[in-house]
Symmetry: C2
Subunit: 335 residues, 2 copies
Amino acid sequence: MAGEVNIKRLAQELNISIATVSKALNDSYEISLKTKNRVLSLAKELNYTPNPAASNLRSNKTKTIAVIVPNVANNFFSLAIKGIEEIARKYGHHVLIYQTHEDAEMEKSFTNSLLNGRVDGILTSVSSNEYNSDYYRDLVKKVPLVFFDRVYESLDAFKITTDDYQISFTATEHFIDCGCKSIAFLYGLGKLPAGRARLSGYQDALEAHGIEFRDELVLDYSEDEEVNFSNIKTLFKEYKPDALFSSIEEFIIPAYMACAELKFRIPEDVKILSFSNMSSAKLLNPSLTTITQPAFEIGNEAAKCLFKILNKRGVDDDKDIVLKSVLIKRASTGC
Amino acid sequence: MAGEVNIKRLAQELNISIATVSKALNDSYEISLKTKNRVLSLAKELNYTPNPAASNLRSNKTKTIAVIVPNVANNFFSLAIKGIEEIARKYGHHVLIYQTHEDAEMEKSFTNSLLNGRVDGILTSVSSNEYNSDYYRDLVKKVPLVFFDRVYESLDAFKITTDDYQISFTATEHFIDCGCKSIAFLYGLGKLPAGRARLSGYQDALEAHGIEFRDELVLDYSEDEEVNFSNIKTLFKEYKPDALFSSIEEFIIPAYMACAELKFRIPEDVKILSFSNMSSAKLLNPSLTTITQPAFEIGNEAAKCLFKILNKRGVDDDKDIVLKSVLIKRASTGC
DNA sequence: CTGTTAGCGCCTTCAA
DNA sequence: TTGAAGGCGCTAACAG
């Protein structure tokens, strides 16, 4: 369509062979400086760019990586993608993005469509609705792949994650230090290690401080915002927790709405803390303490890891990289 | 790496020719049903998938489109991408995503890297920092391209936009109806039609209601959040506006912070209205009236438009599609 | 230093 | 109904 200009054409115009042109373009040591310059300047003049399909076919490299995420309309993932892109660009690679919408079937179908050499490698954050461990066990043998954030822990594969357990423990302790006695836990991603680690951190912190863990203070996430809203109201009415620890961002809004409806002031009547990368919400709500994951850095590390694999360097490194999340306490509330 | 299984292999195993296999796979009428079935079942058994690089090279089609946006970590664009992906998947296409970070040079460099047939078409939302009209005038001749949201109006090209002028007019009227006399305008995207249309809508609404337009009530956006914060405080102190109309989401936070610092209550002391696709912020802040653009639909329409072009259908349709934004008034404030 | 040649995997004439 | 052959644009042996 656009191009029309290929190495054959360059070769003809310069009266040299196709191979010479190719080598000149690839800066081969076999070619004289003079020829290189002639080729390069004509290439520039004619606006030559190599046909990627042809190079791909020949070299079995696509200069393309794929990113598979549940969703891009999400603060965490969009930042992670930014981190990935930065590295990809540095390596001159293109980035294909696929959204699974938490659908494990779609996840598999996207992934399978990438196994025929469309990409050099894959970065993936698995969907939360089904445990697909067997599938990925086979997959990692077929294609360079790095998991980030949402991983299958039992898998022998490259994984970039955060310290979900540790930061949850710390956050729960923070509440306890503030004098909270009855801390409810809003539970999400229960099928994934990340979600379960957050729960464990909470449980263990309670235990460490001699506070009894009560099952009825744990609320499971529902896809339906209305249900979450009503469940939180019920939770407030029946068990009167003095704090809410939300393990996923999606609980923040129903929690706030429930407080508003019940005329609870935050943080005077009830404290709220959430995992969240919603930067603006933090600023808008000085009463909300948040755990922020280093989303950008996770993307960055994951991509770096993938390129290490692709370049066959340092693959003997530790396969598990764990980054630190940050607990941001709201100064204005003193807690 | 993964594949190894190609039509040659299929042909050998079945003792037929490569050409026959190829035709069978493409469901050619020349091939007997029996042969087709043999080929297809073996293909399935061996998990055959065609090598994309080879098909691309042969057919000059990549089954890939590119999306170029300023940023994905943004409510509007991430939703738009979702809309684009939905359509792309329907057409069996893959989606490359590039972020310009509002850098016109990067925008050009990405775009240029796509002109050699790496993609079948491009969807783009231009960056705001430089007016690149000449560049795009040439570009649209070289590659199927659809602009969405951020466009160059003077260009004869496919464009999917929203009713920025109209909705700004309506929103300003809404303020006037609420009794506001001194409405400040927080101005962004001034180099782009969308931004200027928002300003015009505001100006014309004032005029239509006999309110004088005052230049000092218009505040330009700065990249520096702190500067915006301080400018808004100054604006409040010097001109005491009773309403703020923010033409971009990025002003919301400094505006809120300024109000907090000056102990202004929203909406009693000052009303705030903003263009925003920050769904959570709306719910968290019942006092904020918002203009929400149909981001998902814009992506959807843009992608549909591109595939129409690629399939050479309906190209004579109107090149300009304008979708409607929605003004969401906060019931709780009565304004 | 430069050129010739043989494919990468697929599709498409054209011939059988 | 099937097969043989050529070529998409590029690269990598191998010769000269």
